[in-house]
Every structure is written in structure tokens, then in C-alpha cells.
Amino acid sequence: MATEHAPAAQEDGHEHPGWSTYWKIAVILFVITGVEVSAFYIPAWETSWVYVPSMLTLSTIKFVLVVMYYMHLKYDHKLFRSLFTGPLIVAALTLVGLLFLFSKLSIRLGLLS
């Protein structure tokens, strides 16, 4: 379908993207998930040191795409951005802090070792 609806104007005056943008995002999400699942079954990738960083990066890209385009945070009022990113940062810091606290993560300090 090549039809493209005009971007919908919102009550607060912000415009949302059109169908073609939503479609492209869906394809990107689909492809990234396919790559993630494929990587799980490729031993050379799955056992290498790049596996975890690459999985986290791909997951973050998907997260950001859904939040920015499907949840329209890119187009909405900045207060909504603050209401979401503020608690998200607190949540992420809490998660990382707890992982350090329970020795799941560690920083090697050469001077102290």
C-alpha cells in the first residue's frame, strides 16, 4: 500500500509521523530482533566478548525507536520526556548500583589491586 495519510495533528499542536514511518520502524524492529535471535545461535558470536555489548546495544536501539516513534516522545511536549527519562535514569542507576552492590559488576582499579 503506497497510501500515506497526512500526519495527524494533536490537541497540543504536535504532529505525529505518518504510516510510512511506522512501517519503516516496524521493519527495523523486526530485523533487529531477527539479528538478536540469530546471534544467539551463532557460536562464534555468542561466545565472543562482543556478544553482550552488541545485544545490549541492539536492545537499546529497539527501546529508543519504540519510545521515540510509537510513543511519540520525539514529537510530544518536553514535560512528557522529562516524566519518562527522569524515572528511567533513576531506574537504570538503581539497577547498575544493585549489580555493583551484589558483586555482579565490578571495576578493576589497578592501583588498589
Partner: protein
Amino acid sequence: MTATTLPAADHAADGHGHGGGHYTTLGLDNRKVAIWTFIGSECMLFASLISTYLIYKGRSIKGPFPHEPWTEPATGKVFPAILDIPVTSASTFVLLMSSFAMVLALAAVQNRNLPKNTLGEKILGSSKLWLWMTCLMGTAFLGFQAFEFTAFIREGLSIRTNLFGSSFFTLTGFHGAHVAVGVCWLFSLLAIDYKRGLQPGDATNVDIAALYWHFVDVIWIVIFTLVYLIK
């Protein structure tokens, strides 16, 4: 933030938005402010559940384990790695595509009054179609989860078996409960659409449901990677 008595010029003169919402002093619909605040608090809830899972990961004394087989010392019975990646990958695809359907349902409601001449425009403009798609895919995701939980229990992993079982069922169970609430919410929108038709004035109500649904989706994106794909 209080509801203003002096709404912005393009808002209804009584300070009410379309569909019954009030506007804040910033000219923002208070229902959207509320849902974003709620989503922010939910981020912290799920961060605590994910943290718990990650902290307990690899600390179970007895199996079954998520990614490695385990032999029970007393009986010699071998338990295979319990996570079923192909099934969960399928459910992940379904949930991601349900977000796509949801965003099209919202666009259909917002563009209700635009002329629809071609078949493509009629399909894209059908909020009922996209709401049905979203509901069905959400229900399918719950079906996948019920299948997974049932298989785990049959294979010897329950919420009381070990630390992995406790943290896994709590995390994914909470997420599944959120999906179930979202499916009920979407079916209620569908019922309204059949009863009187969702109009552009209802767009904020649909938008709020859509925000909740997409949030459930992004949480699953994180869970899928951290729990299923990273050993």
C-alpha cells in the same frame, strides 16, 4: 500541576479536553501527564524486578537452569536447559508487531474525518481492524506465556524450585499481568468503537491506552534480551 480555568485558545472553553480530560496550566491534557507519570513509576518497578533477577542469576543451588542442562544428584535425572528461545522469539515478534498495529489504530482514530477513497486508505483508516489485530496479538502473547509456564512446571521448574524459578516467574508474571490488563483495556476500546465509533475527540483516550501498550512492549524488549538471550 492544577487544572487551569484559562485553557489555551484551541481548547474547549470550559477547560475540558475532547473526551472529558482537563488541561493543566501548561496546556497539556492531565490524562497524558498522568499516564506518563505512571509509566515513569512502572520503569522503577520493573527495574527492581529485573535487578532481582540479575542478582539471583547463577546463584541457584539446584536446577533446572535457564541455559545449561542439570543432573539431579539423588536420582541422576537430567534436566535440559529450560528456556525455549524459538517459542519466546515468536512471542517477541508478535508483541512487537502488536505495537505497530496499535500505532495504526491510533492514527486511524486521529484521521477518522479524512476522506478515504482508495482501498489502502480504507484499510489504514479502520480503527476496528487495527484494534482487533492488537487485541489478538496481545492475546497470542499471553497464550505463548501460558504455554511456556505450563511447559516449565511440567519440566520441574516452579516458582518455589530455586532462585531462578522465583525471580523468573515473578518478573515475567508481572509483565504478563500488565499485558493482560492492556488486552482488557484494548477490548474495552474496541467495544466503544463498535457501539458508537471512536471519533477524533477520543484520540487522547486511545493515545493513553497506546502509550501503556507500547510501554509493555519496551519492557519486554529489555526482558527478552537480559533474561533469554544473554546467558
